[in-house]
């Protein structure tokens, strides 16, 4: 993250909402820029990149999905989608693939702010946009929320892929349960470490060939978890 207040670009064609949200976020110390449609957003991106974008899914001139894809083609900027459509809708599914998070309208401002903060926390994590091959049995395609386990493609939930992002950014190193908690859930969700434990157990069921003898998702008891190659790859893979 750059120094100073996080910079957010809000794209929405409803002026009431745009002004309201900008005011609320400015009051909480964010640096806000706004755009009324996709073209204006793309013009703004030519001069400076924000830390995060909030995009309305339904816009008259260029819909949120098209804009999000345009933006992702230029840079891996995190995007939070605002939508009147429930997640689980076919179109929302497509958007979720490119977006970092998905907030349903009418949003509660504290909820949205918590999601923004969670997404900002993961800025700086360097995760490959291509496949991450962790061994013959496991390949992660986090940008598609998919894992390939023993040749079978497995779908990951948004939370599962967020945790794997945090682990993949620190491959081979233990990531503390607290960090995982902060990456996987927003403060307003009142999550506690048991959320991490249960999600990890479920994740292991998905990505390990033998979940009882995990080789990729290792527990550091009482500390956290780490994601590893198996069999170990390269000379530096053994430590950590």
């Amino acid at each position: 993250m750059t120094s100073g207040a996080p910079r957010i670009l809000i794209v929405d064609d409803d002026p009431n909402l745009l002004v309201l949200l900008a005011d609320q976020l400015r009051a909480d110390g964010y640096e806000i820029a706004t755009a009324r449609d996709g073209d204006e957003a793309l013009r703004r991106l030519r001069t400076s990149w924000p830390d995060l974008l909030i995009i309305d899914m339904m816009m008259a001139r260029m819909d949120g999905l098209t804009l999000a894809r345009e933006i992702k083609a230029q840079a891996d900027l995190p995007i939070i989608v605002l939508s009147a459509i429930d997640a689980g809708d076919s179109k929302a599914d497509l958007l979720e693939e490119v977006a970092e998070d998905y907030v349903t309208k009418p949003y509660h401002y504290p909820e949205l702010r918590a999601r923004i903060n969670r997404v900002l926390r993961r800025l700086g994590d360097k995760v490959p946009r291509q496949s991450l091959v962790l061994g013959p049995d496991l390949t992660l395609d986090l940008h598609r929320r998919e894992a390939t386990v023993g040749g079978q493609v497995v779908q990951l939930t948004p939370t599962e892929s967020r945790l794997l992002y945090a682990l993949a950014a620190n491959l081979g190193q233990t990531v503390t349960t607290e960090t995982l908690l902060a990456r996987g859930w927003a403060e307003t969700e009142d999550a506690d470490p048991s959320y991490v434990w249960v999600t990890m157990r479920r994740l292991r069921q998905k990505v390990e060939v033998d979940p009882n003898r995990p080789v990729h998702l290792q527990t550091a008891r009482g500390v956290g978890y780490r994601l590893t190659h198996h069999p170990p790859a390269g000379p530096n893979a053994a430590d950590g």
Binding site: N16, D86, K105, P106, D190, S194, Y195, G222
Partner: protein, 482 residues
Amino acid sequence: MDERVGEDEARGRADPTSRLSFRSRLTVALIAASILPLAVFALVVVLIEASFIGPNSDPNIGRLLLFAAAVIVAAAIFFSYGLADQLSAPLRHVVAAMDRVSTGDLSSPIRVAGDDELARLADSHNRLAGDLERRNRELRRILAAIEEVSPRDDVDALVERTSTDATSAFGLIDAVVVMGDASIIEPEEVVPGVSRPLRATLRAGGEELGVLLGRLPATRRWEPADQDLLDLYASEMAAAIRNAQLFATVESQNAQLLELDAAKDEFLRGVSHNLQTPLTSIRAYAEQLDLAAPDRRLGIIAEQSERLSRMVRQLLTVTRLESGALKPRSEVVSLGTRARKAWEALGADDVRFDVDDAGGGWLAIADADQLDQVLWALLDNGVKYGERTPIHVAIARDEAAPRLRLTIADRGPGVADADRDRLFGRFVRGAEPGTDSGSGLGLYVSRELCRAMGGDLLLEPTLAGRGAAFTIVLPGEPGEEA
């Protein structure tokens, strides 16, 4: 085959002469025919000798005659057998060839020299076998052509193929399929020495689709069996064409339905967006104003706009559930936390609310957004129909399975017996008048959502001192480090 052998044997026993082969019978006949005159001659010789030559004649002559008779008899048997064998040989050829035909070998013709009845028999057999083989070949081509046909084929391509396949399978000069009313095409007359016109109606399910017309080279014969085969082919292809036509209709209707469905989805998205966006502003501004200068009326605006949003969402959820487009994403959630949050969102501050969490740290596996819809609907019902009596939420582990149960109970009048069975239907409201502020979809949507998440929603039995009680059942997992 064995059965037929058995039959032959039975017939053999009934008629003893047929036990002998034709060759043996011919041999016997020839012997009889050659020996009988000889025997008569010998008798005459013996009689003459006895009466004219007298007893003192040379006895050697008698012996010589007897010997000569024996030699002649032996020679007669020998030649008779040879002759019978030669005479019956072509017959045996014919029998063997027919045996081959009956086992399916049509390729080897019988060769019988000459121009007699047997040669003609062999000729007609050869012709018969040739015809059979040709029709077999045609049948195989027809079957191959029919097998290749799929209902997904283009109708025009299928019609085209019907004529080309008919041309090659039946060895026609040309063939063409004319679709439409076949009766308007006049049948052509058969003129000897000129290629012969053929036709077969494409008939499927009592409906005439068209007609297959073709010409046969003048050198080829055309028997009723050939026409039968052509008719069979025409009706099979007609069925295939009909199927393809029906399939194309279904496909285009399907495409229309998909288009309509997509349009409906797009429409719903639009409606939802156009309702939720202003509602978001209304609620947020009301909350902002309420914060700056607290006013109960602003709270009501915020609550009611929230209620409106929920109802729009419910309607959207119903259509999604019915089209199977709603896919819950199972994440880890704490039921107690979720229930408290849903209660806060409801804003029923004047109603007492408590949560008794006996889940032992277990977490539910559910889609948080959808669980939120369910909890909100049940709590809203509890407040509305419980007549603002205290709401009690109890969370417990299921004894039998890794599941969690969350029961929401009020102390109101409970569910009337008349309502129990129809409560989870669509657009159903309680029997009490004046409580119709909902969409009537809450319990229906809630149960469907719970089931989509691998759980269920149950109405608990009526207990003394308790009003209506609903239990959400969801998959759960222990909240232990793993």
